[in-house]
């Protein structure tokens, strides 16, 4: 469903002609199947977010191509919904209007509009907060609202960029469970960037390990843990340890990309 074909991405230098741009990705080949839940892990600066931004269509590859259903990605689209690290809800709209935003852009009829909106809010457990403004919500609730805003458009792919990293432990685990519950019902292809090993082990069908360029994809680890998973058993710990080992082989502190 998704294919990266020898993709490279270079951020332009800040106007200095002599300086070379900063290489974020190079030689990336990656295929993601329909319905797959893929987690992308790696140290900061390894191009995780760049990879996601290419897929979302916010950035264009310097060379190579990013294909979605065999067609090159040329720009953002509601079929590839993004959940950002920061919920980026529009602060001037209440939760309901935030969720309706995409439907209105698509010109959905009013009766459909409110039905689908309420459904989406119900799905993430925010029905009672439809009238609240983002600033009145906790971080976890904001991220739920962002999830509803994306899901209401019934996207083919969910692209999630460290969506739960700013939340406290409890809220994070709850949201992971909700995400899995929603994913189990639709089996919507999901690409989930995280730096949290436990999170990857808990969520993913397959973990992609990224490192610094060239050839950012350093490892590809299928997780054959049965679902629903629990966070405690030995098998789970084994996976966590394995992933940790993979990450430990990479340099820890890469320079951050300037223009992500």
């Amino acid at each position: 469903m998704i294919e990266f074909q020898s993709v490279s991405l270079e951020y332009p230098s800040n106007g200095h002609a002599r300086e070379n741009g900063q290489l974020a990705l190079s030689g990336v080949d990656l295929a993601i199947a329909e319905g797959e839940f893929v987690c992308v892990i790696g140290p900061s600066g390894s191009g995780k977010t760049s990879l996601l931004n290419l897929l979302a269509g916010f950035l264009a590859p310097t060379s190579g191509s990013v294909l979605f259903r065999r067609i090159p990605v040329t720009g953002p689209s509601p079929e590839r919904a993004v959940i950002f690290q920061d919920p980026t809800l529009f602060p001037w709209l209440n939760v309901r209007a935030n969720v309706e935003f995409g439907l209105r852009c698509a010109g959905v009829q009013p009766d459909q509009l409110s039905r689908r909106t309420l459904q989406a809010l119900d799905l993430v457990g925010l029905s009672q907060f439809a009238g609240a403004y983002p600033r009145q919500l906790s971080g976890g609730m904001r991220q739920r609202a962002a999830l509803a805003r994306a899901l209401v458009l019934d996207p083919s792919v969910l692209l999630m960029d460290e969506p739960f990293s700013a939340l406290d432990e409890n809220a994070r685990e709850r949201l992971q469970d909700e995400l899995l519950r929603i994913w189990e019902t639709h089996r919507r292809t999901t690409v989930f960037v995280t730096h949290n090993i436990q999170e990857a082990a808990y969520l993913a069908d397959r973990v992609v390990v990224l490192g610094p360029p060239p050839n950012n994809v350093k490892g590809m680890i299928p997780l054959n843990l049965p679902r629903p998973r629990r966070r405690s058993p030995a098998a789970f710990q084994e996976i966590v340890n394995l992933l940790r080992l993979e990450l430990d082989r990479l340099p820890c502190c890469l320079p951050a990309n300037k223009k992500e």
Partner: protein, 270 residues
Amino acid sequence: MLLRDTRVRKLLLLLCSVALGAMAWQLTAWIVSSVRGVDFPSPLATLRHLCGLLAGVGLFDHSVYRHVADSLWRWLFGFVIAVAGGVGYGLLAGHSNALGRLTLPLVHALQLIPGLAWIPVALLLFGLGEQSTVCIIALTTFPAIAISVVAGVRQVDATYVRAARMLGAGKKALFIRVLVPGSVPHILSGLRIGAGNAWRVLLAAEMVVGSGTGLGYSIIQARWTLDYASAFACLLVIVVIGLAFEVLVLRRVEKWTLERWQLFEEHRRT
């Protein structure tokens, strides 16, 4: 109980600062009267005179209410023109890079021109009278508003733009539903600056353009007829109107924006 206490304290503080101002004024009046031998209206005399005016004593052929109403009307008229132009232009120039680059230097140049310097231009365009005053107000207020709005559109967070595009917003929807509401705090601060500019330049313009009515006109007439008490009374009226506008309109608008747009600031800090 506590709330009432703080309110009482606030009121007392306000009264004290008014008293302080009145004392400074009174002191000035005494010194000027005794040193220069001219009659400098004291606070009390001014207040008494103002009460007379409010009770219906005429001021240069008109009631004081007529003067206030005419001034406010001109102010509103000029201000609305400046807002329509400034917000409209600002949104477009902030959105379109080409338009912004081409025209923004001109707007910055306009801003350098002090209000009263427009008088010859306004007189050439409209002659003596109403339209000239309004024209001067609009010309001085427009750049301040336009520049704030341009800044407002440009500072709208790129992540909001990304989110909107991902949700399927086309160019038009992006502009109307993200860039415009996203720049509301800046637009409002532009309006706030603009309203103050307009009010000050209005009073000055009325002194020169020969409007025949208005607070500025009254002050300058009082100066020619040596009716200083009336001039001082007009000054008091101007202060009261300004304060009323601040409390009744600006503070409420500011509270509303803060409540709704506060997230911007949080966003910056994290």
